[in-house]
């Protein structure tokens, strides 16, 4: 606990003097570690701010976000209510060393996931030799028949991915979830940074922070790498469900940052298995579609017949190799809750490497030893159904009643293959401005990776913070906000 004391002894009584993250791991204090000179500098810098000044600037920042329309939109009968995602002005920090670790780990994971998807839609080795249960993948609702034997450029299926990471009380990073379909949130990463640069130049001054503003350029470059071979520059478009989608702001952001048209399904049509967009100069060919539309809605000829948002015939164009979809259809088999448990095995299987970023310890109850362990330790574990039922049926051991535990045991014995079990993990914290001053609040991290021929990882990522005291739920629907995420350049201890 050297660090807290060291900071406290700096002699200044100020903003963070009553800040106490114990027992959680604090992102700024790095509990137990040697004090990091850069983080110490940031701590001392924060100490010079008055809470009232921080608060006033935070309110200005939120007003600005509102004016800029960096919002989720909630529509009612007569009005459109634009809500901003709460923004906390105290940044979350990541050291250069930690970032190198995360970056390599994410690259490794994305590579294995892409190889896994290719394998599943081609030879199915990993299923045939029993490394991953066949029915788990082929019986999954995200498995898409239309993708069998399709060869995506560069073998890449997951072009854009978000990896949800958490840190335990010792500061070790774990992967909580892979997002391999249409992960969102990257717009907040960039906009939060811009906001900090406008509102807190005095806090940022002198810190060398990895930039995030070239995300759009990187994205356009990587998507260009996976375009079908064409004579001229590939035409990239961003396909959005439209203005009434709650993530419409992000779609705008991405289209603007890449400088490409933001299209809806009705702007596109297929002729001779090629994709065209309707412009004032007539039809223009389209080669790469970054789609922010779920598989089901993409093509009424193949998927949901009632979809008005998609483009009839799109999958024909994909299979002919005339257009590339990012992400590819059918990637949901790789970010399923049950498949998640097997990702470390995938990494060993395809890459012959040990996973750099561990999963949260997961007991796959379809395996007898895991089932036995789960039944014996049920009061310490979180038992989750692997099906598609979402949060339904989760049993949080430490919080459950005796009856609930017994019911859970019964369900497990009946259909063990439908469950996984994980230990309760406390999330790390970051100092956060709340009404009473600065207090620890739990955070997670979602770095974004873009893959064309190779993978590039945006330094940092989206830090979500659970604003209610003690809460570990970072989702925006349940009081979650965001923070700017600083990857600090230069080495420290």
């Amino acid at each position: 606990m050297a660090t807290v004391t060291a900071f406290r002894n700096s002699g200044i009584k100020a903003l963070l003097d009553t800040y106490d993250p114990e027992p959680s791991f604090c992102e700024l204090l790095s509990n137990g570690a040697m004090p990091d000179p850069l983080l110490t500098r940031l701590w001392n810098r924060l100490q010079q701010f008055e809470a009232s000044d921080l608060d006033a600037r935070a309110k200005d920042a939120e007003r600005e976000l509102q004016m800029l329309g960096i919002t989720f939109t909630v529509y009612t009968d007569r009005t459109a209510i634009d809500r901003i995602l709460p923004f906390d002005v105290i940044p979350r920090t990541i050291s250069a060393k930690d970032w190198r670790h995360l970056e390599t780990g994410i690259r490794q994971r994305v590579k294995a996931l892409n190889m896994f998807i290719w394998d599943v839609y081609h030879d199915g080795h990993i299923l045939n030799d029993g490394t991953i249960p066949q029915e788990l993948v082929l019986g999954n609702s995200n498995f898409q028949e239309a993708m069998v034997d399709y060869d995506p450029p560069a073998g890449t299926y997951v072009h854009i991915s978000g990896t949800d990471l958490i840190r335990d009380n010792h500061g070790e990073f774990f992967v909580l979830e892979d997002n391999s379909r249409t992960p969102s949130g990257v717009s907040y990463v960039v906009e939060n940074r811009h906001m900090m640069q406008r509102a807190f130049p005095d806090l940022m001054d002198g810190f060398d922070i990895e930039p995030v503003s070239d995300y759009g350029v990187q994205l356009a470059t990587k998507l260009g790498e996976v375009a079908p071979p064409v004579l001229t520059d590939a035409q990239i478009v961003l396909l959005s469900p439209g203005v009434f989608n709650s993530a419409y702001f992000e779609h705008i952001f991405l289209a603007r940052e890449m400088g490409v048209p933001l299209v809806e399904g009705r702007d596109l049509f297929i002729e001779d298995d090629r994709v065209f967009m309707k412009t004032v100069a007539g039809p223009r060919p389209v080669h790469v579609i970054y789609r922010r539309l779920n598989d089901d809605f993409l093509d009424p000829e193949v998927f949901n017949k009632d979809s008005m948002l998609g483009v009839p015939g799109l999958m024909r164009a994909v299979r002919k190799g005339n257009v590339t979809l990012a992400n590819a259809v059918g990637t949901g088999i790789a970010d399923d809750k049950a498949v998640y448990a097997y990702v470390p095995r995938m990494i060993r299987y395809y890459l012959d490497e040990e996973p750099i970023l561990p999963n949260v310890e997961t007991h796959i109850c379809r395996e007898p030893s895991a089932l036995a362990y789960t039944l014996d330790n049920i009061e310490k574990l979180v038992v989750k159904p692997v099906g598609e039922s979402g949060g339904y049926g989760i049993c949080v051991g430490p919080k459950a009643t005796k009856t609930e535990l017994e019911e859970c045991r019964a369900r497990l014995k009946k259909k063990p293959e439908e469950y996984i079990a994980q230990p309760m993990i406390n999330l790390s914290v970051s100092p956060t401005l709340v009404e009473t001053g600065v207090e620890p609040r739990h955070v997670d991290l979602r770095p974004f990776a873009i893959t064309g021929e190779e993978t590039w990882v945006l330094p940092g990522g989206l830090t979500r913070v659970a604003l209610p005291k003690g809460s570990i739920v970072v989702n925006s629907s349940q009081g979650g906000g965001t923070k700017d995420t600083w990857v600090l350049k230069g080495d420290s201890a």
């Binding site: 509102q66 004016m67 800029l68 702007d267 412009t279 004032v280 223009r284």
Partner: protein, 354 residues
């Protein structure tokens, strides 16, 4: 150069400007009416405004009498009137939202600010004492919006569509305003006006087009209706005259054809050229006042046809829609003009309601 402007976005530019101009014109007319009202004629009713926009039927669905407050409510705050000021500003903002990937942040922030002010206006802001001030604030909001567009929008093909929407709507509004005589006689109280009140009415029309002082400079002596009507229709230097608008429309369509090389502009260009020529011919012909109502009908028909042509050429409207708009030749009024709104716009409207 090759164009990547989506047809849907071109249409949004067009309607963004139309809705803004429509809101501004309504504010102008309501403001002008209050000053006319204050001039003390007890017979002066507000019914003519409803007649001006051929809104009698829709108005009657909600209100029984065209009292000042009812007319104001109908045209300012009633969202079931798609042409009320609040509906217009809201629709303008929804078009801007669809255009958000293309427009400057300045335009977007301005319209968010404007929208929140306009939507926050309530009945009390339009009481007799505050109506003029509120209308003025709406007008200034529209000016700021057009100004920030002028200052910051990138001048690709979207720009001519924005300007086309602006000037087509303005021409339509000016021709409606010029038809006030007709609208007034249709509501039956024109004959009650004295000569003096008649002159005052024309005075109000001039002022509502921000044209009073310009008219005075051109006509230092005299104040007769024929000169005023002629000024509002044919003066090429008055930004709200029909001739000025027609010339601007012609320039924009020409720009689409020549600078942006859009082949589809050819038919609209021929149409605009003919419209412009016919309008100039009318300048040479005798008694404008006598023919004013017919002229206005003709102008409005031409604008509806032109909009429909732009729809087919650029916005992805089907040919059938153009033909469906044809009955408008019989009785051009606001309801048929609304029908000519293309699918995309009706979608924006209906989605906002659902």
């Amino acid at each position: 150069m090759t164009s990547n402007l989506l047809s849907r976005h071109a249409e949004c530019y067009f309607w963004l400007a139309r809705y803004l101009e429509r809101a501004e014109s309504l504010a102008r007319i309501l403001e002008a009416q209050t000053s006319f009202q204050r001039s003390g004629n007890p017979n002066n009713s507000w019914a003519w405004i409803v007649a001006l926009y051929s809104d009698q039927e829709n108005f009657a669905k909600k209100f029984s009498e065209p009292t000042a407050q009812n007319v104001i409510n109908y045209y300012v705050t009633w969202l079931d009137n798609p042409s009320s000021i609040q509906s217009c500003v809201r629709a303008a903002r929804e078009n801007a939202r669809a255009l958000r990937p293309l427009i400057s942040s300045d335009v977007w922030m301005q319209i968010n600010d404007f929208y929140s002010r306009v939507i926050g206006l309530t009945e009390s802001d339009f009481s007799e004492n505050r109506l003029s001030r509120s209308c003025d604030s709406i007008k200034r909001g529209c000016y700021a919006q057009i100004g920030v567009a002028e200052s910051t929008l990138y001048r690709d093909e979207g720009w001519p569509f924005f300007r086309l929407g602006l000037f087509i709507e303005r021409a339509d509004q000016t021709s409606r305003l010029l038809d006030v005589q007709f609208a007034k006689s249709a509501t039956g109280n024109l004959n009650d006006l004295t000569m003096e009140e008649h002159a005052r009415l024309w005075n109000v029309l001039l002022r509502s087009a921000s044209a009073y002082h310009a008219f005075r400079r051109v006509h230092p002596r005299g104040f007769n209706p024929a000169d005023i009507a002629h000024f509002l229709v044919f003066d090429r230097r008055l930004p709200r005259s029909l001739s000025f608008c027609a010339a601007a429309i012609q320039r924009m369509v020409n720009q689409l054809r020549t600078e942006f090389r859009l082949r589809n502009a050819q038919r609209a260009l021929e149409h605009v050229d003919k419209f412009q020529a016919d309008l100039q011919d009318k300048a040479k012909n005798g008694d404008l006042i006598e023919q004013l109502h017919d002229t206005n009908d003709w102008v409005q028909r031409e604008l509806i046809d032109l909009s429909a042509e732009l729809g087919v050429a650029f916005f992805g409207a089907e040919i059938e829609e153009l033909e469906a708009a044809a009955p408008a030749r019989e009785e051009p009024d606001e309801s048929t003009a609304r029908l000519s709104r293309s699918q995309g716009q009706s979608q924006i409207q209906s989605q906002m309601r659902s």
